[in-house]
């Protein structure tokens, strides 16, 4: 409270020391809004998404709301949505993972190549991909906890390492869909929902969101993820094994990225070693626009899905409006700045 005390208030406080001055009653509408957003963090992304959908429906008309277009948006959002799950749990611990895209591509190349070149059964190939995801996550987690390096630096390093490993392993060659078993590309197959084509990959993504939202909100592990991101030392003194939580978060993220690899192969109907190393920034964008704080301990998983949808809707709507792709990038940039500024403002809430 920056306003100085009124004379009568100051007198009362002097007479009765320790009696708290009632400030709640004096809150302006802006502070009440701040408090509301503080306790309901997904309100803003939900509102922005609604705003975007309404705006583009009016501006671009039926082409935007056409089932084919909606189906396109959802499919475009799927990969970022999946990466967003992994990125969210890491950012909740006040970390960041620049290698999410690279891990996913590495896993997808292992799945596609073992299945096509080495004739490994499809299920086994997928399991190998899962192992790669788990292993890559464990490497990140162990580097963060054992060497005590900042996650930004660790994953900047592993980003380059995983990209190089992918190119070495694949000889920089893609694997086309017809060489890959049907089970692996099945994630790209569609089925109609109210006339909108939905892929099995989208279903898989939604299932992952439901599972992880449940784990974050309803299990002790979820609480500990938030506690570690909130205040690491406090979590340690409370008796939480901070390092164990951190390593497990990176390992779980790796497993999620392996699922992402499966969906990516289906969506592209191919596995390319050059696809998606830049997806790390898109996933961070989705998480940040979704209201999760980069300082950790605050945010929701569903916000990240909304964030991914917001980026998808804006990109798609602006493209349909006939604007140059540069304006899409510009819009996403503005969204990020606005989202982080709002987060800063909301974090200032103190009673």
């Amino acid at each position: 409270m920056t306003t100085s005390m009124l004379p009568d208030q100051a007198g009362a406080a002097a007479k009765a020391p320790g009696v708290p001055v009632e400030e709640e009653e004096r809150e302006g509408p802006l502070r009440r809004l701040q408090h509301f957003l503080h306790s309901h963090p997904t309100t803003i992304p939900a509102f922005v998404l609604l705003l975007g959908v309404v705006f583009f429906s009016l501006a671009v008309g039926h082409r935007f709301l056409h089932p084919f277009n909606l189906s396109l948006i959802i499919q475009q959002v799927t990969i970022i949505g999946i990466l967003g799950v992994a990125q969210t749990i890491i950012i909740l611990t006040a970390g960041i993972d620049l290698s999410v895209g690279a891990i996913m591509v590495l896993a997808s190349m292992v799945v596609a190549q073992t299945a096509s070149h080495n004739h490994v059964p499809a299920v086994l190939s997928l399991l190998l991909g899962l192992l790669v995801g788990l292993g890559a996550g464990a490497v990140n987690g162990l580097l963060v906890t054992r060497l005590k390096l900042p996650p930004f630096i660790v994953t900047l390093g592993t980003l380059n390492i995983f990209i190089a490993l992918t190119l070495l392993y694949s000889n920089s060659a893609s694997v086309i869909g017809q060489d890959i078993p049907a089970l692996i590309t099945a994630t790209g197959a569609t089925f109609p929902v109210f006339g909108v084509g939905v892929t099995y990959g989208v279903v898989l993504m939604l299932v992952l969101y439901v599972i992880m939202a449940f784990v974050l909100g309803r299990t002790a592990w979820g609480k500990h993820v938030y506690a570690v991101g909130d205040d690491k030392e406090a979590a340690r003194l409370t008796g939480i094994s901070v390092n164990r939580v951190l390593v497990s978060v990176y390992v779980v993220a790796g497993a999620i990225l392996a699922v992402g690899a499966w969906i990516q192969i289906g969506r592209a109907d191919a596995a390319s070693p050059n696809a998606g190393a830049d997806l790390n920034l898109d996933s961070i964008t989705a998480v940040v626009i979704g209201g999760t704080s980069l300082f950790g301990g605050r945010g929701t998983l569903w916000g990240s899905l909304l964030g991914a949808l917001i980026v998808g809707v804006f990109r798609n709507g602006l493209a349909l409006a006939g604007l140059d792709v540069l304006y899409q990038t510009l819009a996403v940039g503005v969204l990020i700045i606005v989202a982080v500024s709002l987060d800063q403002w909301i974090r200032k809430v103190r009673s």
Partner: protein, 266 residues
């Protein structure tokens, strides 16, 4: 939430076995000597205050006794049995709960989650054992009951996030957590440092209430009037050693300060 038998110590030193006994604790940080062979005894149902100047080793002593730091040498015994704490969890498992200076609470989590942080209760049956679902309802009910038991009336809604509470209320949450789970010993490091007069009195009342329930309390504080208000015995720490153990009945505040600063010996 065990309540031990209500046994108050007499003003003279009790002849019973100490609940917590430390012998010859040494802790160095490079060339800096934090603890230089400290002894300490804490008896059933007493409030033992630990006072000392800045750098006398109060916080280091507390940290060694609660597993936050590992002493270089020396022994710690709990009810006569030697113990070794390598992590805060180890001390907690032995029933020693600590409220650290600067509060070990998570601001974004609510009161009930903070009370149960690190020892969450899971639902009965498959939901809890296989799917590890938390019993949020039970934890909230228990948290509410515990706050009521301790007479903390200012915290009615246990679903409020810690960051929305005042300093005194946060402290009350931290003390309540220690009181709820500290079956053998409750340690408070500067619990009233950031509090107003009324809030300080509430915390002091809590300390006395715990003592009356038979739980020995160790209180680290700079605040002499507070210490002389609630302490049964006072451990004076000076230059990494125990300079003296006095009682508020035998010594005055001025004498305590004199021993603390080295102006007088005990």
């Amino acid at each position: 939430m065990t309540i031990s038998e209500d046994r108050r110590p007499t003003s003279t030193l009790p002849f019973t076995q100490p609940v917590l006994k430390a012998t010859g604790l040494v802790k160095t940080y490079g060339r800096v000597v934090g603890l230089d062979g400290v002894d300490l005894e804490l008896y059933q149902g007493e409030v033992l205050a630990v006072i000392g100047d800045n750098g006398a080793g109060k916080s280091t002593l507390i940290k060694c006794l609660t597993g936050a730091e590992i002493p270089d040498s020396g022994e710690i015994a709990l009810n006569g049995k030697q113990v070794q704490f390598r992590r805060p969890q180890d001390a907690k498992h032995h029933g020693i709960e600590t409220v650290y200076q600067g509060l070990a609470v998570s601001p974004a989590l609510d009161i009930a989650s903070n009370l149960y942080l690190g020892r969450e209760l899971r639902r009965r049956g498959i939901a809890g054992s296989v799917f590890r679902v938390l019993d949020t309802k039970l934890m909230r009910a228990n948290a509410k009951a515990e706050l009521d038991r301790l007479g903390i009336s200012t915290l009615q809604d246990v679903t409020v996030a810690i960051e929305n509470l005042s300093g005194g209320q946060r402290q009350a949450v931290a003390v309540a957590r220690a009181a709820a789970f500290g079956s053998k010993v409750v340690v408070l490091d500067e619990p009233t440092a950031a509090l107003g007069v009324r809030e300080t009195n509430q915390v002091l009342e809590l300390i006395v209430r715990l003592r009356d329930e038979g739980i020995p309390v160790m209180l680290v504080s700079h605040n002499m009037p507070n210490v002389f208000d609630v302490a049964d015995r006072i451990h004076i720490q000076r230059l990494g050693k125990r300079a003296a153990v006095i009682t508020p009945k035998t010594h005055s505040m001025t004498e305590a300060v004199a021993i603390m600063t080295g102006a007088a010996s005990a």
